[in-house]
């Protein structure tokens, strides 16, 4: 199961998580980042990077996570890959 980005990202979108992803799995949606479930290798290195703890470990999915999983899956199909954080660009 892939990691997903939750709604906390909406208030922040710092993008620092992008710099540690070894497979470029983040997608730059309009108002938040999402993780492409087909690209994510479940390494989890992005989770501790997030300043607002928006990244959800699949081991900690709850009933509410279903919407977040769907959102990540859908938005990742139409959003561009983001290779670098805003600060690294």
């Amino acid at each position: 199961m892939p990691y997903v980005v939750g709604k906390e990202c909406l208030s922040c979108k710092s993008t620092v998580c992008v710099d540690v992803c070894p497979v470029d799995a983040f997608r730059d949606a309009d108002y938040q980042l999402v993780i492409c479930p087909d690209t994510c290798i479940e390494c989890g290195v992005c989770e501790p990077e997030c300043p607002v703890d928006a990244i959800i470990n699949p081991e900690e999915y709850t009933g509410e996570s279903r919407d977040v999983i769907t959102l990540n899956s859908e938005l990742s199909k139409t959003s561009p890959v983001i290779f670098k954080s805003v600060t690294a660009q």
Partner: protein, 346 residues
């Protein structure tokens, strides 16, 4: 305090050329006292007086000591017992090295951790995240976007201080462990052994990667950076001494954890320079496999250790921080040498 009398490095090199001499010298307590004193003077000059030439000599001595421990037995040396003197020197030089590595570490970073295993792992990952070597511009900017094939070759030469002996490090670390931890390290080790397929043995693949990048044996010693040698020596120190096992868990766990994010940029450098596919395959493999290793290491080694005794959490954090800091110094020196200005800690 000056380095006087016996030049430890020259003496060591001479002794290595005449292994039978060790047995005579073991019996000569005047020489042993002199050698011990020279080691102490060298350590003082290197780490108290900040003499870089002395620091280089100290680490060359340690590198010789560790090389003997990591190499296959040579029949001409089976009667040479180095231990009485070498243990003395090793203890003095290692002591100085570790004292330096541990001095000034913030107490909050080595003691303010949760004692629940899973929470500890989260805490440890956050500790890594806030360090300068977590996302170092040597990888994210220089290797990713600027490095030439010659730069990649130079970088790989430095990596020989750890990469090709990681299988042996894992072998040393497994000794005497409880089954759960031993199983995790053994899985990791078997991956290093190519899961039983000789062509897939990682040290062999790394040697082929070096060859693909144009690295010759003669390139090794002349091009080695001091901080690369230091990193190799700290790795050897932690792998070879059972009392440092807990630090080794933190040190090598972080090494596995950081590798995938770094290798992504190494792959980009190989691709951008149209270098042979073998090097790309080797690093791609490690993006995936080191991810599994890091997670297995954290879940099946770190978690039970911290829950066994919270004091071990401090040792693991020490090892992790030593890895983070020595890695940052190494990458800064590498950036300086290659003219990339991609430094973070200077």
């Amino acid at each position: 305090m000056k380095v006087e009398g016996l030049n430890l490095l020259e003496w060591f090199v001479a002794m290595e050329r005449n292994p039978d001499e060790w047995n005579f010298v073991n019996e000569d307590f005047d020489i042993r006292r002199n050698v011990n004193q020279s080691a102490r003077l060298l350590a003082h000059e290197a780490y108290v007086n900040n003499n870089q030439a002395a620091l280089a000599k100290l680490h060359e001595c340690l590198a010789i000591i560790y090389r003997n421990e990591f190499e296959c037995t040579r029949v001409e040396q089976v009667n040479a017992d180095r231990r009485p003197i070498v243990s003395d020197i090793q203890s003095v030089l290692e002591g100085a090295m570790l004292q330096y590595e541990m001095q000034g570490l913030p107490e909050a970073d080595i003691s303010g951790f949760p004692v629940n295993g899973k929470e500890y792992v989260k805490w440890l990952k956050k500790l890594v995240s806030k360090s300068p070597s977590s996302v170092h511009p040597f990888y994210t900017r220089f290797l990713s976007e600027e490095a030439t094939a010659a730069d990649v070759k130079y970088y790989l030469i430095q990596e020989t201080n750890l990469d090709p002996k990681f299988d042996d490090i894992l072998a040393f670390m497994q000794i005497g462990l409880p089954v759960g931890q031993k199983l995790e390290l053994a899985k990791n080790y078997f991956d290093e052994m190519g899961n039983g397929v000789e062509a897939d043995v990682h040290s062999k693949m790394f040697a082929q990667t070096l060859k693909a990048a144009g690295v010759e044996d003669s390139d090794m010693s002349s091009a080695m950076l001091l901080q690369s040698i230091v990193s190799g020596n700290v790795s050897s120190c932690f792998a070879l001494s059972r009392r440092h096992y807990f630090k080794a868990v933190g040190y090598f766990g972080v090494t596995e954890y950081l590798a995938p994010r770094r290798f992504k940029h190494v792959i980009k450098a190989w691709e951008r320079n149209n270098m042979p596919a073998h090097g790309i395959e080797y690093h791609k493999l490690h993006v995936y496999i080191d991810t599994e290793h890091a997670n297995g290491w954290f879940n099946n080694v770190v978690v039970p250790l911290v829950e066994q005794d919270p004091r071990i959490g401090r040792e693991i954090a020490l090892g992790a921080l030593i890895r983070i800091n020595s890695s940052a110094r190494y990458l800064d020196e590498l950036s300086d040498r290659l003219g990339s200005n991609a430094t973070t800690t200077a």
